[in-house]
C-alpha cells in the first residue's frame, strides 16, 4: 500500500507451506511421543528434544518466514545474529543461574 512497496502475489499451490506444516507437526509429535510414551533416560530425551527443537526452528525460518528472500537490503541477517545472541544468553544464562540447585538439592 506504499509507493516504494511492491506486491508479491504468490502463484501456484503453496507446497512449501504444506510440507512445512507437516514437518513441524511430525517434529512436535516425535517430541511428545518420546517424553510421554517411552522410558528412555532423561538425558537422552532432553538431547533429542533439543535437536528436534533446532530442526523446528529451521523449518519455521525456511518454510514459513521467507528467510532466504529479500528485495533490496537483507534486514534478516543482523536480526538473526541478534537472535543467536539472545538465544545463547537465555539458554546459557539460565543453565548458569539454575545450577545452584545442584548445591542445595
Amino acid at each position: 500500500m506504499e509507493t516504494n512497496h511492491k506486491f508479491h502475489q504468490e502463484t501456484g499451490f503453496p507446497w512449501k507451506h504444506i510440507w512445512g506444516l507437516i514437518a513441524s507437526l511430525v517434529l512436535t509429535a516425535i517430541a511428545f511421543w518420546l517424553a510421554l510414551a517411552t522410558h528412555q533416560p532423561p538425558a537422552l530425551v532432553i538431547t533429542v528434544i533439543v535437536i528436534l527443537g533446532v530442526g523446528q526452528l529451521l523449518v519455521q525460518l525456511y518454510m514459513f518466514m521467507h528467510f532466504t528472500e529479500s528485495d533490496d537490503k537483507a534486514w534478516q541477517v543482523p536480526t538473526i545474529y541478534f537472535a543467536i545472541f539472545i538465544a545463547f544468553t537465555v539458554v546459557a544464562g539460565s543453565i548458569w543461574i539454575m545450577s545452584f540447585k545442584a548445591l542445595v538439592a
Partner: protein, 654 residues
Amino acid sequence: MGNFREWAMHFFMLDEGPLIWTSDVLIILATIGIIAVLSYFKLWKWLWDNWLTTVDHKKIGIMYLIAAILMLFRGGTDGLLLRAQLAWPNMHFLNADHYDQIFTTHGTIMILFMAMPAIIGFFNVAVPLQIGCRDVAFPYLNAISFWLFFAAAMLFNLSFVVGGSPDGGWTSYTPYVENAFDPGPGENYFLVALQITGIGTIATGVNFLVTILRMRAPGMTLMRMPMFTWSVFITSIIIVFAFPVLTVALALLLIDRDFGSHFFTVSAGGMPMQYVNLFWIWGHPEVYIVILPAFGIFSEVFSTFSRKRLFGYSAMVVSMVAIAILSFVVWVHHFFTMGAGPGVNSFFGVSTMAIAIPTGVKVFNWLFTMHKGRLEYTSAMLWAVGFIPNFLIGGLTGVMLAVPPADYQYHNSYFLVSHFHYVLIGGTVFGVFAALYYWWPKMFGVLLNERLGKWHFWLFMIGFNICFFPMYFLGFMGMTRRVYTYPAGYGWGVINLIETFGAVLMGIGFLVFAFNILWSARYGERDTTGDPWDARTLEWATTSPAPTYNFARIPEIKGRDAWWIMKKNGESINGPKDIPFEPIHMPNDSGRPIIMSLFFFIAGAGFVFEWWILAIIGLAGVLVTMALRSFEYDDHHYIPVEEIEKTEAAAGRL
C-alpha cells in the same frame, strides 16, 4: 437447586460482601448506560463502521489510548483501595484475601493493560506520520493486535466479579500459584489474559519493525528518523525477542494448572525457581519496553519546546541500542535473594549498574537540548521537565538495588516499591501524559486546556512525591511489600497516612485531567494549522487530525527534523502545485479482527474455568476466521483523485 444456588453465589461472588455488590451494580448501570446512549442516538452503525472495523492506525491508536485511560482509572482505584487499607495500623477495610487480589490486579493492569496500550497507542498515533507513510505495514494485523489486547483486558477485569481475581502478585510466582496452594479460576485469568494480549503485542512488535524498516518516505534514512520513531524501532526489537519467553512461561504454568503437569511444582521434579527465571527474562526487557518510548516522547517534547534540534542525536541512538542489549543481560537482579551464588549475582549486579551509563548519557543530552533554548513551559514540557528529577531518583535507587549484598537488605521492602514506582510513574506515566498533551491536537484537532493541564501536572506530581518518597524510609524501617496490615508499635502509621494523602492528591490530579478532556472537547481551542506547537517533525506537516491517507503526496525528506526544514525553505507538504495527485491505495476495513478476538475471549474463558467445550468452540472460531482471511482477495481500494482534491481543498491546502 440448592446446589446450583450455592454454586452461583460463589461463582458470581455474591458471598464476598459490599465491594463486589457495588461493583456489580456499577458495571450493570454502566453497560445499560452505554447501550441506551448508543441506541437512543442511533450510533451503533456509526460505531461499527468508523471504529470497531477500522484498520486506520490513527483510529486504532486512539482506541488504545481510550482503553489505557480507562485502565489507568481501574488500576488507580485499586491503588487507592490499597492506600486506604494501609493508611493506619490494624485497619480492616479490606481483608487479607481481598488485599492480595487487589495488589495483584493493580500491578498487572498498570503494566500490561495501562502502560503497554498507552505506549502502543502512541506508536500508532505518531510513527506512520513521523516517517511519512500512509499506514503501518500490516494494517489488518494491527487491528487484530488491538482487539486481542481489548479482549484480554476485558477478560482480566471480569475476574473482579466472576470467579475471583488472581492473588499471586503481578509476577505470579510459583510454587504458590500452583493448584495445590491457589485453586480456583483466579490465577488462570492472569495466565490466559496475559497470553492473549501477548499475542497481540508480538504482532505489534513485528508490525512496527517492518513499518519502520520498509515504509519510510524517500530520503528518510534511519539516521534522519525522529527520536520517537527510533525508540519505537528499538522497542519493537525488544518486544519481538522478549515476549516469546513470557508466552512459554505462561503456557507451561497453565499446563501445570489445567492439565496437571509438573514443570514448576516441587513434587515430581519440577523447578519452581525456573518460572521466576523465565518470568524475568521477559520481565526486565518489559520495563524497557515501557520506558524507551517514553524517552522518545521526551526527546520530541524537549526539542520542540526548546526551539532547538535534539542535542546528541547519534549518542541518543547509540545509548538506546546499548540499553536494548543490556536489558537482556540483567534479569537476575530481580531475584538476587534466590541465592544463585556470588558469581551469578556479581555478574548481574555489574551488568545492571552498566545500564546507568547509557541512561545518564540520555539525561545529559536532554539537559543540553534545553541549554540556551527558548524554553516554553507548556503542559507537555512540564511533564518532560518533571520527569528528569523524578526519574533520576528512581534510577539512582535502582543502582542501589543493583548491589547484591545491599539488595539482601532492601529486597521486597517498600524501598523497592518506591523505586519501581519512581521509574514507572516518573518515567512512563509522565511520558504518557506529556504525549497526551503534545499529540492531542494531532489526534482530535483540538488542544487540551493549558491551565487545567498545569493543575493536573502540579497536583499529580506533588501527590506522587508525597505518596512515594516516604516509602524509601518505610523500607529502611522494615516495612515489606504485600503486607495487608501492620501493628501500631512499629511507628509506620503516620508515614503511611501521609502517603495515602499523596495518593488522594494523585487521584484528584487524574480527575482534573478527565475534566480537561471533557472541557476541551466542548470549549477547547481548535487547531486549524496542523502545527500548533511550531514543531519539527513530519506529523505536524499534515492537518489535525490527519486525513485517512495521511499525506496527499508522500514528501521527499531532506534531513533530520524534516518539517522544520520544509518550513524554513517555505515548502508545502503537498509539493509543487502543478503536479497532479495520484489515486491512493488503501486497505479495506474489516469486521473480522473484532470477531476473531471475541472467539479468543470465548476460548480464554474456557481455559480459565476449564470448560473444554467452550475452549474448543473458541479456538475453532479463531481458526475459521483466520482461514476466511486467507481466501479474501478483495482487501484494498483506491481513493480517487477527486476525493483527495476535495479533502485537501476543505483543509485549505490546495
